[in-house]
Amino acid sequence: MRRWCTEEPTHFVLVGRREDTLRAISEDLVTRGCDGTEASIHVGAFRDSEEVAATVAGALEHGRPDIALVAFGSLPEQAVVSATASALTEALEVNGVWPALCAQLLFNALREEGAGRIVLLGSVAGDRGRRSNYAYGAAKSLLATFAAGLAHAAVGTGVSVSLVKPGPTDTPMTRGAGTRGRLAAPDDVARTIVAGVARKQPVIYAPPRWRVIMAIIRALPGPLFDRLDI
């Protein structure tokens, strides 16, 4: 988000569960942003459809956004969600159902305006189910199909819908989750996302090389894929 505000004055509306975190992020944006950067915060919950609806409605009271970024979720440990029904349900809801509902409600609001961009945070993990994190991957693939459908529905409305698929990125969510391999720098990922959103690209891989990597992984024949430890 920091990327947007260094270019031109931007008004951010930050929505989330924890007021202290939102406040810290808003201070950071205003301090780093160019003159005229503003940030307001809206505390809300995302645990059921009523809460999500109330949260989105409350956020929209701050004004109709030009760009709405739906980016929340948590990376669960597959072993835990495989063994615990409630954890599996929560993983699917937090990463898939509630973001999809947010997107729909935002779309309904923006369609009336006839303008705006909705950006959903998916993941390369949604491109093919893998034994190491298929709960998270399935939720993200729900979002991918949802975003594609929403983009289809948005044709001619003036609203655009983009899905971002970041590869493993160096963030608090991935650190400590035992992620292997090299993590992408958040700044590079952010740069790719901002450029993709500006171009209204429907699917944004960040960094872009993941488009190629995932195309190969999707194309791998079953017997070969089964032998991979990923």
Partner: protein, 439 residues
């Protein structure tokens, strides 16, 4: 949040240890970790030796949020993990710069305060903590206090330069300086030996920025030949951010340990010194190339190969004159150690911090590969430094003895008493503090 087992080292890549590295993203997370017992606080890991190492390490580098900036006064409040580079990116385009910057822009603000780093303007502007208005510190019992010279003077002067041994620095309020341009007017003088170098440093003391690159391999009459770089902020020229912040290139592999062997280094030094033909040259250069030339290569510390390197930095008091420098350079040039360039600069007055390094005099910093011969050279340099009443920089150190430390920093007992009063004893420790006999 959960700890990771990693191989950790400082910038010198020597020593390397196995550590449990925990990145606590919240205040409660930090409290929880501190509650477990002895913890070592680490920022960007840019101190050279073992001052950011321990068995249980708290990684503060990701606390990079900025809290506020007053456009009129130039006071910025940032979280401890924000780096000098972050400050340059955000504030340089608006005409504000950090008042003191060390030789790299990749250090964190918290680390800069804990090491009380200095820059090329120490003789004019003092060290990093002299521009810190206050900071937030998490103490051993989990309490967070706001520390200023007025509110908690003893904690301020123990923490600034205190190597992270008094608590966890959470955020820092910094007074930035206004500039009209992001560029530096640089004057470089080619000097034939140590006496000429010291004389030129003194006659040019009116320049805001001043440091000499010394060819440590030159002997005899060329002993201490140097390029003295002087700098002043340009008075116009705008604040193009691209001038200041370039993306560094990286060395993609670890070269063999002998890459910087003595003949290679000698040849490089001769070329470096000889590159400037004229005795004097003036140019407009970017902020980055003046202050952070080595940052252009992201991981230049790999040049010393797998075994790593150490940097030895000492200061000798002004009243001892240039003589200790001459003897130190003679020791360095005669040792079987490929020491490349060294940096010499004059320090201004010391501040009131208990463990801050600078005192009025001359400081010399020299890199050497971590070999037995280099360690022996360091021992000899220790004696020379102590004999003339000088001291050795903790942020570069990986090897000094407790006796040397106590002789360098005579207020160490006071430091220990303040730590005890504020619940830091046994809570905050590093490989370095243990080696130096601090509790």
């Amino acid at each position: 949040m959960s700890p990771r087992s990693v191989a950790l080292s400082g910038w010198g890549r020597w020593p390397q240890v196995e550590a449990e590295l925990t990145e606590a993203t919240t205040l409660d997370g930090i409290r929880g970790l501190v509650g477990l017992g002895a913890v070592s606080v680490r920022g960007a890991g840019r101190s050279y030796g073992d001052s950011s190492l321990g068995t249980r390490v708290l990684d503060m580098a990701h606390h990079t949020r900025m809290r506020s900036f007053d456009r009129d006064s130039g006071v910025a409040v940032v979280d401890a993990g924000a780096t000098i580079e972050d400050l340059l990116r955000v504030f340089a385009p608006r005409g504000w710069l950090p008042a003191v910057t060390p030789g790299t822009r990749f250090v964190t603000v918290g680390g800069a305060l804990a090491s009380d780093v200095h820059g090329k303007n120490h003789h004019a502007a003092g060290s990093f903590s002299d521009h810190v208005l206050w900071f937030e510190l998490l103490l051993g019992d989990g309490e967070v206090v706001r520390v200023s010279r007025e509110s908690l003077p003893e904690l301020f002067h123990a923490t600034a330069g205190g190597m992270g041994l008094t608590g966890v620095i959470l955020s820092v309020a910094l007074q930035l300086i206004p500039v009209r341009s992001g560029r530096i007017l640089q004057r470089s003088l080619k000097l034939p030996g140590i006496d000429a170098t010291v004389a030129a440093i003194e006659t040019n003391a009116n320049w805001t920025y001043s440091a000499a690159w010394i060819d440590c391999q030159a002997r005899g009459r060329s002993l201490g030949r140097s390029l003295l770089l002087l700098g002043e902020h340009d008075t116009d020229g705008g604040h193009d951010p691209a001038v200041n912040v370039r993306r560094p290139v990286a060395i993609p592999f670890v070269p063999p340990s002998g890459t910087l062997a003595r003949p290679v280094v000698s040849a490089f030094n001769t070329l470096y010194h000889g590159r400037q033909r004229a005795v004097e040259r003036t140019a407009l250069v970017s902020y980055t190339s003046f202050f952070h030339p080595l940052d252009a290569i992201a991981n230049w510390n790999l040049l010393y190969g797998k075994r790593g390197f150490l940097q030895y930095q000492f200061v000798t008091p002004a009243q001892a004159g240039a003589d200790p420098l001459r003897r130190a350079l003679a020791l360095i040039s005669q040792a079987p150690v490929p020491a490349p360039l060294a940096v010499l600069k004059a320090f201004g007055e010391a501040n009131s911090n208990l463990l801050s390094f600078p005192l009025r005099g001359y400081t010399l910093a020299v890199d050497m590969p971590a070999t037995a011969a280099a360690l022996e050279l360091c021992e000899r340099l220790d004696r020379l430094v102590l004999d003339c009443g000088g001291r050795i920089y903790l942020s570069k150190d990986a090897r000094m003895s407790p006796e040397t430390f106590r002789a360098c920093y005579p207020r160490w007992q006071e430091f220990e008493e303040i730590r005890a009063r504020h619940g830091a004893t046994g809570k905050f420790s590093t490989l370095q503090s243990t080696r130096l006999g601090l509790t």
